[in-house]
């Protein structure tokens, strides 16, 4: 059961979690960070690192934010807008650098309030 990043990361992207992740599997889009479910080892280091409590286990995302579970997967499993290939398992965010693109859901996301 991997960890996922939900709504409260959008336009915040504090990145503290990226430093804590022992396998460097948290990748940077344009508005939000995404945890790679293929690479996550379920250790939970990221969860308390997040200052806006955006991270939880996939079974425990806040009510109404279930779509972020599949969206985290989509970031890696499907080609991102403007790309031909999916990201898959790049083997570390430090190697890859910021991706700078978001999924369709996040690119057009309107935060409440």
């Amino acid at each position: 059961m991997p960890y996922v990043i939900a709504e409260s990361c959008i336009d915040v992207m504090d990145r503290s979690c990226m430093e804590e992740c022992p396998v460097d599997c948290i990748y940077e889009g344009s508005r939000k960070l995404y945890i790679n479910p293929y690479e996550c080892i379920d250790c939970g280091a990221c969860e308390p690192a997040c200052p806006v409590e955006a991270i939880s286990q996939d079974r425990a995302v806040p009510n109404g934010q279930e779509e972020f579970v599949s969206d985290n997967l989509r970031f890696f499993a499907d080609p991102l807008p403007g790309r031909a290939e999916p990201l898959g398992q790049p083997g570390g965010a430090a190697v890859l650098g910021p991706v700078g693109i978001d999924t369709d859901l996040i690119a057009s996301y309107q935060r409440d309030g």
Partner: protein, 444 residues
């Protein structure tokens, strides 16, 4: 000009994250990772519970430095036995101790020395097939067991005792351990927690995992105080733990073979027994000021035949290094070892030996980066003298270290053992066989 030579003592997460950060600095360096065992990964191999297989996948990342030509694994070499600190100081321009905190903290209560009482470190090393525990024949013939502590290690111990043999079959525990766990007589595991539900240090996901045991019910004994309202908790971890505890409390027992009891506000006062453990006296505690709980005088006895203490770990003093007996760590500033107010030149610490035994695997990544930054900063612009190769030094003493290729041979052999038994991997757990596998290529 010579490249600086760096020794990292210990190949667990703290040592290997330090190595990764040293490599990321881009400086030309030669790094030797020295371990007393022929196997790398420290507590990932010998601490992480066998049913947390996915967490062990962190080795994928930890192994990366060993693909570089300038990083060597020097295994089966114990500092203090095969090498002194002075040897290291002669062979290296910087020495990073990342050898962890292997000693169990004590309870300091009567009866603690009785047979049947053991530290969690000892128990964990046993079920994880650590060569130090290989000779140990542990028969789990007690029907009731007390586990003392409120952290993830206490949960690991309780979970392993609560698992069915079927649940543990597809793990890497040695065959002998699996057989002992399959024969286990344990029915009731009592986790004794001195303070209340909001004070525990459990990682929420690990507490939740107790509900996933196939053959055990989870019972919460809140000490009469109630569990507390999750929505009032400020800290997310506390909120999630309270929520999980409420779910446990609301789930009726299903009459399963085993029961795991979470006993809050319970302090062990005395361990009973003539020649081995026959019970434990538990005293109720009451909440005082925040973070405090004092004994209430109300006592009861649990008829346990085994006690596992999981109240933390401390480091052992290392010859030639300062040591804080109170903290069980080596005094340091950002990883630089300190003797009083003075920096001890060229000597560093990382991981639990540096900051105490807390945190999870990921905590070691920034921690190792901090120590590596200190090493790199101190080496900058310094000319380094030519130095002897530690492997030659060991050779002159007729001590043959094992290397990375040796570990890969052992790993392959463990994979083959597992395949032969329909399991993923089975650990080899006595040192002699481990070393033999390291030096003997498998027959094709």
């Amino acid at each position: 000009m010579n490249d600086p030579r760096i020794a990292v003592v210990g190949s667990g997460p703290s040592g290997l994250y330090t190595v990764a950060a040293l490599l990321a600095s881009g400086q030309p360096l030669h790094i030797d990772v020295i371990d007393r065992l022929p196997t790398p990964y420290g507590l990932v191999r010998y601490g992480v519970a066998p049913d947390h297989a996915k967490m062990k996948a962190v080795t994928r990342v930890l192994a990366k430095p060993f693909t570089k030509d300038n990083v060597r694994f020097v295994g089966n070499v114990e500092v203090g036995r095969d090498l002194t600190h002075d040897d290291l100081a002669a062979c290296y321009d910087a020495v990073v101790y990342a050898s962890g905190t292997e000693r169990d903290r004590c309870l300091d209560i009567p009866g603690e020395d009785l047979p049947g009482v053991m530290g969690s470190g000892e128990f964990v090393r046993w079920y994880n097939g650590h060569p130090d525990a290989a000779a140990r024949d542990l028969s789990l013939d007690a029907e009731q067991v007390a586990v003392i502590g409120a952290g993830n290690v206490a949960l690991d111990v309780a979970r392993v005792l609560g698992r069915t043999a079927d649940e543990l079959r597809d793990t890497d525990v040695p065959a002998r351990v699996l057989a002992a766990l399959a024969r286990s007589a344990v029915h009731d595991v009592h986790i004794l927690i001195r303070r209340g539900p909001a004070d525990v240090k459990f990682t929420p996901a690990e507490l939740f995992q107790l509900s996933e045991l196939a053959g055990a019910d989870v019972l919460v004994h809140d000490g009469g105080d109630g569990i507390g309202d999750p929505s009032l908790a400020e800290d997310k971890r506390v909120r999630l733990n309270l929520k999980t505890l409420r779910t446990f409390a609301e789930t009726p027992a299903r009459g399963r073979r085993r029961r795991i009891h979470l006993r809050f506000f319970s302090r062990p006062a005395k361990i009973l027994g003539a020649d081995r453990v026959s019970g434990i006296v538990v005293e109720h505690t009451r909440r005082q000021a925040r973070d405090q709980a004092a004994g209430s005088g109300e006592r009861f006895v649990l008829p346990v035949g085994m006690v596992v203490t999981a109240v933390g770990f401390r480091g052992a003093p290392l010859a030639g290094l300062p040591f804080s007996a109170a903290a069980g760590t080596v005094p340091n500033e950002a990883g630089r070892v300190m003797a009083g107010a003075a920096v001890v030149p060229r000597v560093y610490v990382a991981g639990w030996l540096k900051r105490g035994a807390s945190g999870i695997i990921g905590t070691n990544r920034p921690d190792g980066a901090e120590t590596a930054a200190a090493v790199v900063a101190d080496l900058a612009g310094r000319a380094v003298p030519p130095r002897p190769d530690v492997v030659d030094l060991l050779g002159s003493r007729n001590h043959l270290p094992s290397d990375w290729a040796g570990w890969l041979r052992l790993e392959e052999y463990e994979g083959a053992l597992g395949a032969a038994d329909g399991r993923g991997r089975v650990k080899v757990h006595d040192l002699e066989s481990m070393l033999r596998s390291c030096t003997t290529p498998m027959r094709q």
